[in-house]
């Protein structure tokens, strides 16, 4: 098997706050290969964005990476100097964010913003960089790119702004793209176009993509592998078909069942949706044992005392749950 482009081992990102120390990312391990899309799914506050920012080494404020390794192309990013890291950020690893309006500089023309990355990372003269940014805009499907490079972000619609973000992220042909909820703020018809764009760019450049979203439909259609996060931990990871056909973790099961109609081919109008009771626990008040125990319909004594580890139940299908004891057998 080929070596993964990115391998994260036991990553822990902590925040020191007035109320104490919390682990936003708590012992996460994962692998991504070139040309592969890994979907990371979870509800707000589960740590999926902090995971992405940790990979970029852009953990904000009082946060820091306390443990683990992030091995990218054979090098541990966590041991690099800030200067070496900066050389990789935006060139080998790029990131696109949820809200393109706040991620773009409102007082610079979009052409200049795209050209900046090209100038810095590829050492090209300004004029050449600007020409390249016109090509990039054309590649991401912006009509009339010659004229559009001179636009400011406010001249563009939300979908167009996200295309600009993608053009910027692609400007140095990254090996890894981190996409953090890139379509959440967009309408469905625009979302479909942006997803198509990301997947065609991925294929063309044999790029690895980590796609972070709360939308299981987007994951189902775009990812090859999925990791489900809950309260800072990965609780289940599997190839996409396996996860949707047979979710093993009670949380994944609950998430899939709480999506209304269109997904479940049968119209269930008028019937109740299955729900997961309660809310995601705050990271301040985690108790001993499994983090999902309070909301879990199957919880038993073991769940209160010991935290389950991620174990391979079927080939490539990992889950952390005491329900599965040993070889794929469900405990009563």
């Amino acid at each position: 098997m080929q070596t993964p482009l990115l391998e994260i081992k036991d990553l822990v990102t902590v925040f020191n706050t007035a109320r104490g120390r919390i682990k936003a990312v708590d012992g996460v391990s994962l692998q991504v290969h070139s040309g592969e899309t890994l979907g990371i799914v979870g509800e707000s506050g589960c740590g999926k964005t902090m995971l992405a920012l940790s990979i970029m080494r852009l953990v904000p404020g009082d946060g820091r990476i306390a443990n683990g390794e992030i091995i990218f192309s054979g090098q541990n990013l966590l041991t690099l100097s800030e200067e070496d890291m900066r050389a990789r950020r935006g060139s080998e690893i790029s990131m696109i964010f949820q809200e393109p309006m706040t991620s773009l500089n409102p007082v610079l023309r979009i052409g200049e913003q795209i050209a900046e990355a090209i100038r810095l990372h590829r050492n090209l003269p300004a004029k050449k960089a600007l020409e390249l940014s016109v090509d990039l805009l054309r590649e991401v499907g912006i009509p009339d790119p010659q004229k559009r490079v001179r636009d400011y972000p406010h001249n563009l619609s939300g979908g167009m702004r996200q295309r600009v973000m993608i053009a910027m992220a692609m400007s140095c042909h990254p090996k890894l793209l981190l996409a953090d909820e890139p379509t959440t703020a967009l309408d469905v018809t625009i979302q479909a176009q942006i997803l198509d764009l990301i997947s065609s760019l991925k294929q063309k450049n044999n790029m690895a993509v980590i796609f972070i979203t709360h939308d299981l439909g987007v994951i189902a259609q775009n990812a090859q592998k999925v990791a489900v996060m809950y309260a800072g931990k990965i609780v289940e990871s599997a190839p996409v078909e396996a996860l949707f056909a047979k979710p093993l973790h009670p949380y994944t099961e609950g998430l899939l069942e709480s999506i209304p109609a269109v997904c479940a081919a049968s119209g269930r109008k008028g019937e109740y949706l299955k729900t997961i009771p309660g809310t995601v626990p705050g990271l301040y008040d985690l108790t001993a044992g499994c983090r999902f125990q309070d909301r879990c319909p199957y919880a038993f004594a073991d769940c209160q005392s010991k935290e389950p580890a991620l174990a391979e139940i079927e080939t490539g299908h990992f889950v952390s749950c005491w329900k599965y004891d040993g070889k794929n057998s469900l405990r009563e």
């Binding site: 018809t189 479909a192 709360h214 949707f244 709480s258 209304p260 269930r268 949706l273 729900t275």
Partner: protein, 327 residues
């Protein structure tokens, strides 16, 4: 369950004029709501679906009389709501309540949950102080909040719980019609399901009629009896829940349905023919023409009116019916 028309909207329009900037004499007119005809029947849930900028929230604001129309009327139980003033307006507002999308900005951060739920009763001078408090507490338990949470402030609640406060506040006046403007859009899926179930429960308990606005076709399908699809200020299709998913009439409806990613990874959709963005500048002919795959000459010349297609369905497309096999 359904009996009679509760709301009759006819030829409703709302235009906004944008000035072209300080140095420009040119003005742009935005038709946020453009000659809409729509009925809401007592006891039903009417889903209104469309993308951002299609005018669905403006419609909600007109319904609640937060905006005045530039044309047309809304009749509530046979009376034009824009003729109301004084006591009549107050009584209309008791009967029609709204639930907002953003639970953070629609609640007052300096008021406790209980006092916010009580406030509508105070404004409408219903009952004594004691009765108001009892009624507010009763509403809290109806929406699944605990008594101990009564004195807490918005920031102490999660998003789902804040939406429960918003719902309790809307229901405390015993309204007949609830306008729900994207009530679950900012919530996580597992919480969204809880709120949708709650809305179903309350509808039965309080014999409510809902106008449910959302951009999410999954949610709309789950909750609605009939569905109106809006595009750039107009209703382009209006039909029953079953019809819209099994037999969309308008090419835009088809496009919306295709755009929703399926939760079954095996069911890869064929590469879709979704293109373009909504064109805001008004021009001649059908407003969907620039994105439509079935455009004919007539579409560039005449705006198609919303026409009856069969007993249950209305569609605003010159080619409705003739392109069904292709959709």
């Amino acid at each position: 369950m359904m009996s009679g028309t509760l709301v009759e909207i006819s030829q409703l329009s709302k235009q906004y004029t944008l000035s072209g900037g300080f140095f420009s004499a040119q003005k742009r007119i935005i038709h946020a709501v453009n000659h809409i005809d729509l009925q809401i029947f007592k006891g039903e849930t009417l889903g209104v679906v469309g993308e951002s900028g299609c005018g669905k929230s403006t419609l909600a604001r007109l319904m609640t009389r937060l905006e005045k129309p530039t044309g047309g009327s809304i009749n509530f139980k046979g009376e034009n709501i824009f003729s109301y003033s004084g006591e009549a307006l107050k009584s209309y507002r008791r009967g029609v309540q709204i639930i907002f999308q953003d639970t953070y900005s629609s609640l007052n951060p300096r008021k406790s949950a209980l006092s916010m739920i009580k406030e509508p009763l105070t404004i409408h001078r219903l009952g004594s102080a004691k009765e108001r408090e009892a009624k507010a507490l009763e509403m809290m338990s109806k929406v699944g909040l605990k008594k101990e949470q009564a004195k807490r402030y918005p920031h102490e609640f999660s998003g789902g719980q804040r939406q429960r406060i918003g719902i309790a506040r809307a229901l405390v006046l015993n309204p007949e019609l609830i306008i729900a403007d994207e009530p679950v859009s900012s919530l996580d899926v597992s919480i969204q399901a809880q709120i949708l179930n709650l809305l179903l429960d309350l509808k039965n308990d309080f014999h409510l009629t809902y106008m449910f606005i959302s951009h999410d076709l999954n949610v709309i399908r789950f909750i609605s009896d009939r569905i109106a699809v809006m595009y750039l200020g107009r209703i382009v299709e209006l039909t029953t829940n079953e019809n819209i998913y099994s037999r969309p009439l308008h090419p835009y409806t088809r496009m919306l349905l295709d755009a929703v990613p399926s939760c079954d990874p095996r069911q890869k959709k064929e590469k879709m023919k979704i293109k373009g963005e909504a064109m805001l500048e008004s021009s001649q002919g059908c407003s969907f023409q620039n994105r439509c795959l079935y455009r004919k000459e007539i579409c560039t010349k005449e705006e198609p009116p919303l026409k009856k297609f069969d007993e249950q369905s209305y569609c605003a497309c010159h080619r409705a019916g003739s392109i069904q096999d292709m959709l």
